[in-house]
């Protein structure tokens, strides 16, 4: 590891995004309503530029910089690329939706990019301070995004709940961090790892610290019993915001967890593994079972998100590089599926019609066979049906769990995903076997349709050839640990 003090080069993508945000703020203030596409266009340019910068300086070795606050390693680079990708997809899917609801303003793009910046910082953090900084930047942007539709009481309520509970979770996280600081005397993840290597006399404070940190992390992931905000926020927020919250931040949350638990508290794996087992089992159980009772698709996908995070935790709790790699694979795949799922709601919606109830999907096959087929692929993948990639993602985390000898956990996970298959397949049944409830033509824009096709087919293609992506994940983890 090379210490490059005060060297800004590894943080160029972040700096670039920040500059572009400022530019968009200025530009958007100067143009009138007819030229909003400028902000949209500039946002896409930002993402493309950031991708270029990240790819250009793609690191093969971890580089610690900015006084040990910031790290640039293969893991962060790969995750950042997927962050840009998912934010870009979000922008494409939600453009028409936002325009129809009067939300097509510079604020949305600025907030989205600020959230992205926060996530990038989280992904590249090597210090409790930067981690927290990135997390708060992300969270505050998300609170504001949810509340963006000011005349909707549901959205406002959701934002309020999200904010209060998020603040509570942040408090817990900070408290836990302070405990760990008390035990180890440092805030840098690397230093913490070294300090804890040979054990410590302060076991009880350390365990307390870990519990609070895990609780804070669990809130961000939406693991049971820290999940209660998820259904209400997913449901209440405008679908475009839900799409955003449901995709990229999951990737950032994965990085957050892997940085703190996998890198900082690596030696304490026997402590946090037990906690994650409890969270994982509860999440898979509650997520899958509660989803069955939902009649709103956004709410159903919210519970589905809870169960998927439970599955991802399986990979992390394995505590091995294979486990981390499979969890990373899982979270990337989940982001892709989640984008497709919420994106489909956006594509089917129109002015004054949200298309977020299950019955709105009835007979979709007759209205648009292609979109129905894409949704079928997405649902199969979420349920874990081969040959879609969801199957492979589940398989790899299960393998990681079996490797550490937790066969019962793998069996339980399979049983819960079996229960989960019910509500995913119900969507398929509604689309293919029921008569359409709503006969209005689907007015999705061509670019959104193309992206949706790529999104759906990627699910299939990755399922047939999962190895390349899996290799990228394993490599990123190996090279960064």
């Amino acid at each position: 590891m090379r210490h490059a003090l005060m060297q800004f080069a590894p943080a160029f993508p972040e700096i670039f995004v920040l500059i572009m945000i400022s530019l968009i703020l200025v530009v958007d203030a100067a143009v009138d309503d007819g030229k909003r596409f400028l902000a949209y266009f500039l946002s896409l340019v930002t993402l493309a530029g950031a991708s270029f910068l990240t790819l250009r300086d793609f690191s093969t070795l971890p580089v610690l910089t900015l006084g040990g606050l910031f790290i640039d390693d293969p893991l962060s680079d790969v995750l950042k690329l997927f962050l840009y990708l998912s934010v870009a997809i979000v922008l494409v899917y939600s453009r028409d939706y936002l325009r129809q609801r009067g939300l097509y303003k510079g604020e949305f793009f600025v907030l989205a990019l600020f959230a992205l910046l926060g996530m990038m910082v989280m992904v590249s953090a090597s210090h409790f301070l930067t981690l927290y900084l990135g997390l708060e930047l992300l969270s505050l942007s998300l609170y504001a995004m949810v509340a963006l539709q000011r005349d909707s009481s549901v959205a406002t309520e959701a934002a309020m709940k999200y904010f209060v509970l998020g603040a509570l979770a942040s408090g817990m996280l900070l408290y836990g961090m302070s405990m760990v600081y008390g035990v180890t005397g440092s805030l840098g993840l690397g230093d913490i790892a070294i300090a804890l290597q040979d054990g410590t006399d302060l076991r009880i404070p350390l365990v307390f610290g870990i519990v609070f940190i895990v609780a804070g992390l669990a809130f961000k992931l939406g693991a049971v019993p820290f999940h209660m905000w998820i259904p209400d926020v997913y449901h209440g927020a405008p679908t475009a915001m839900t799409l955003f919250i449901g995709s990229a931040p999951k990737i950032a949350a994965f990085a957050f967890v892997i940085r703190i638990l996998g890198q900082g508290l690596e030696s304490q794996v026997s402590d946090w593994r037990g906690m994650l087992v409890i969270l994982a089992v509860l999440s898979m159980a509650l997520g899958n079972i509660a989803a069955i009772a939902q009649s709103n698709l956004k709410r159903m996908l919210a519970y589905s998100a809870i169960s998927h995070m439970g599955f991802m935790l399986l990979g992390i709790l394995a505590g091995s590089q294979n486990g981390y790699g499979s969890a990373m694979f899982y979270v990337l795949v989940y982001a892709l599926m989640s984008l497709g799922g919420f994106g489909m709601i956006l594509l089917l919606s129109r002015a004054g019609f949200e298309a977020d109830r299950l019955e709105d999907f009835k007979g979709l096959n007759r209205r648009s066979p292609w979109l129905a087929f894409m949704m079928l692929l997405l649902m199969f993948s979420m349920a874990g049906v081969p040959p879609t990639v969801g199957f492979y993602a589940k398989l790899s985390v299960l393998q990681a769990v079996v490797e550490i000898g937790y066969v019962w956990l793998a069996v339980a996970a399979v049983l819960f995903s079996l229960i989960g298959a019910f509500y995913y397949l119900r969507i398929v049944k509604l689309m293919y076997f029921d008569a359409p409830h709503d006969a209005a033509p689907i007015k999705a824009s061509p670019d959104a349709r193309v992206v949706m096709s790529v999104n759906g087919l990627a699910i299939l293609a990755l399922g047939i050839m999962p190895q390349p992506l899996m290799a990228v994940c394993i490599h990123a983890i190996r090279a960064s640990f």
């Binding site: 309020m160 709940k161 209060v164 509970l165 509570l168 979770a169 817990m172 076991r203 009880i204 365990v207 307390f208 870990i210 519990v211 609070f212 895990v214 609780a215 669990a218 809130f219 019993p225 820290f226 209660m228 905000w229 259904p231 209400d232 402590d271 037990g274 906690m275 409890i278 509650l286 079972i289 509660a290 069955i292 009772a293 229960i419």
Partner: protein, 665 residues
């Protein structure tokens, strides 16, 4: 040079596969003519390549090697490989030649059928599968070919898939073959378990060292490993080659179009079992028990299936029972360790039986798809080519001296006579009596169809094959050249192939090391001592019992069906029980459908009611669904929407985690 031969080996199976793919997947694109041109070209190429391979083998070049490794599992390798020796080369030649004839014939027979391209695709696919089966050098590929020919057979029996009897027949063929394949795969499994390899050469080389190995099937009864393997593999052969008691599917398979009856259910596929046992001769030679079992099964089939042929009225079914009986003959030869004789009969039978089937098909075309021989007669003058070729086929079948069937059948009878295994006496009696029976039913059909009064004008209700819709009036006329051509082409080998090849095939070293006979079973050796050339054998036949039995059979049938047609009816009435027994095929169908079909349904029904409905549906499915629903409602109640409930849940969570993990430390 050798590399070129390998390419040639690949061409043999792949050319028909290519034809099958083109005709099957692009049938609409290439049209009817395109479909038959491409498939016939594929099979013709395959036939020419087979001839070249055959010449190469005659020159002393054999081949055993892997073409493609599918996967490796530990030490076990799953491969596609070819074993090319005299046995394979001969089978390749027979398969491609008969297949080529059938392809050409099909142009005429299926002329008006809407499924023309599909049919060509299937028969080419069959040719590919059969070639993969005979060319295999390992058990896995053998099994692949075995199942593939079974599949195509299933598809072709049910080719007219709107016809209920055809669907019944193909299902029956499929299910009965399942029984055989079950034994077959168990046998392969045993081979794998004890030899650790699926490769023929490895297994055969290791076989003698395992000759005295025993396994325990149930406590306190040790079984010879070789006997168990041999019998299990033979059970597979019993299904495929329709040996008693798994013979029931073959007569029903006549529901399929006639060309496939000739190709699959007479000449090639049904002989796969015979071929397999001959190929496995190094294994079978180690077990007298298995050989004895094979011989008895063969003898039962040879005689009792022949009896059934005497009362059939459907022209194709007569030939079908004759096929069953002849397969029994081959099986008897296998049991007597006279593998080369079995394969020899397989070859001669392929030619004359294909000829008889195609001739029957020609008659069926002329009769506008009415297959009942009681409404034929006197066709001799209307269909001269069909008549001559049928006569040749029938004469070959009954073993007329100098014709091909004579040499092979006579050798089988001699082999059975000389065998000393338990059951050989019965087998000898069965094959001897079978000669009379064969002669009787063959000429009964021949006389009823080609001689006697013309009865086709009284024929009512045309055949139920759905493609008979043209030119119903006027006298029957000879069929087009695409039909008669193959008949003539098959008549030649039916006449002469036996005379030409008996010496090298049975007593020369044609087969070389392809077939192994232990010194303990000297049947072939003894046969050799009695053999003094093909001409001598034919002349000598006039003084032997089988010849006069055949003459008696022909004579009796001529008397019954040409002179005194009232006698058979009187006999049928007199011995009505026997007659009914034969008409009902010994009630095997009833037995099977009663015991197995009904029993299986009853068992399934009770499992469904008790197990599925009560336990699985009632307890597990509905029970768990109720549970999930209740739980899910509970969760909904918790999701109250009040922020302080949510915060409370989080705090409780932290509290529980802290308590738990602090206590653990």
């Amino acid at each position: 040079m050798r590399v070129d031969m390998q390419t040639l080996y690949l061409v043999v199976p792949l050319a028909p596969l290519f034809g099958a793919i083109v005709a099957g997947l692009f049938g609409r694109l290439v049209g009817r003519t395109g479909a038959h041109v491409v498939t016939i070209a594929g099979v013709a190429v395959s036939f020419i390549a087979s001839v070249l391979v055959f010449q190469d083998v005659l020159a002393g070049h054999t081949f055993n090697g892997t073409i493609y490794t599918w996967m490796t599992l530990g030490d076990l390798r799953f491969e596609v490989g070819f074993l090319i020796d005299a046995l394979t080369a001969m089978m390749m030649l027979v398969v491609t030649f008969v297949s080529l004839m059938v392809h050409v014939y099909t142009i005429g027979y299926m002329h008006d059928d809407p499924g023309y391209q599909r049919f060509f695709s299937y028969i080419s696919l069959f040719t590919f599968s059969m070639l993969m089966l005979v060319m295999s050098n390992n058990f896995l590929q053998l099994f692949f070919g075995w199942e593939a020919v079974g599949l195509v057979s299933y598809l072709l029996i049910g080719f007219w898939y709107t016809k209920e009897t055809a669907i019944y027949a193909n299902l029956k063929a499929f299910l009965v073959n399942r029984v055989g394949d079950f034994g077959f795969i168990l046998g392969i499994g045993l081979v794998l378990a004890h030899f650790g390899s699926l490769d023929y050469a490895t297994v055969f080389a290791k076989a003698p060292s395992l000759a005295s190995e025993t396994i325990t099937l149930w406590p306190d009864t040790p079984w010879m490993l070789m006997s168990v393997i041999g019998i299990l593999l033979f059970i597979g052969a019993m299904g495929k080659s329709a040996q008693f008691p798994l013979h029931v599917w073959l007569p029903d398979s006549m529901e399929g179009p006639t060309p496939i009856s000739a190709l699959i259910h007479a000449a090639t596929m049904v002989t796969a079992g015979i071929f397999m046992v001959a190929r496995m001769s190094p294994l079978y030679e180690l077990s007298d028990t298995a050989l004895s079992f094979i011989m008895v099964i063969g003898a039962i089939t040879a005689l009792f299936m022949g009896f059934l042929g005497m009362v059939q009225n459907d022209i194709k079914r007569v030939v079908a029972y004759s096929t069953l009986s002849q397969l029994g003959y081959m099986t008897v030869a296998l049991g007597a360790s006279a593998y080369s004789v079995a394969v020899f009969h397989l070859m001669t039978h392929a030619f004359f039986k294909a000829l008889l089937f195609l001739a029957a098909g020609s008659v069926i075309i002329a009769m506008h798809h009415n297959q009942d021989i009681r409404y034929m007669g006197g066709l001799k003058k209307y269909m001269p080519i069909t008549w001559v070729t049928s006569l040749i086929g029938s004469l070959a079948l009954i073993g007329t001296p100098f014709l091909s069937g004579f040499y092979s059948k006579e050798s089988i009878i001699e082999a059975a006579k000389m065998s000393h295994l338990p059951g050989a006496g019965f087998a000898y009696f069965a094959v001897l009596a079978g000669v009379f029976v064969t002669a009787f039913y063959s000429f009964r059909m021949y006389f009823l169809v080609f001689h006697g009064k013309e009865r086709f004008h009284q024929g009512h209700g045309h055949g139920n094959e759905p493609d008979a819709h043209h030119g119903h009036d006027g006298p029957p006329h000879e069929t087009p050249w695409v039909v008669t051509g193959p008949l003539l082409a098959l008549a030649l080998p039916s006449l002469a192939i036996g005379y030409m090849t008996i010496e090298p095939m049975l007593f020369g070293d044609f087969f070389g090391r392809a077939i192994y006979v232990a010194d303990r079973h000297p049947v072939m050796h003894e046969l050799n001592q009695e053999f003094h050339g093909a001409m001598e054998m034919g002349l000598h036949a006039l003084a032997t019992l089988p010849f006069w039995l055949a003459v008696a059979g022909v004579g009796l049938s001529a008397f019954f069906y040409l002179k005194r047609p009232d006698i058979p009816a009187a006999i049928a009435q007199r011995f009505s029980f026997l007659h009914r027994m034969l008409l009902n095929k010994y009630w095997f169908d009833e037995l099977y459908s009663w015991v197995f079909a009904k029993g299986a349904r009853a068992l399934g029904g009770s499992l469904w009611r008790r197990g599925d409905q009560n336990v699985i549906d009632g307890f597990f499915v509905n029970g768990s669904a109720h549970l999930v629903e209740r739980f899910s409602r509970l969760v909904r109640a918790f999701q109250s929407g009040y922020i302080y409930h949510y915060a409370f849940a989080m705090l409780i969570g932290v509290f529980a985690l802290v308590t738990w993990f602090a206590r653990l430390n």
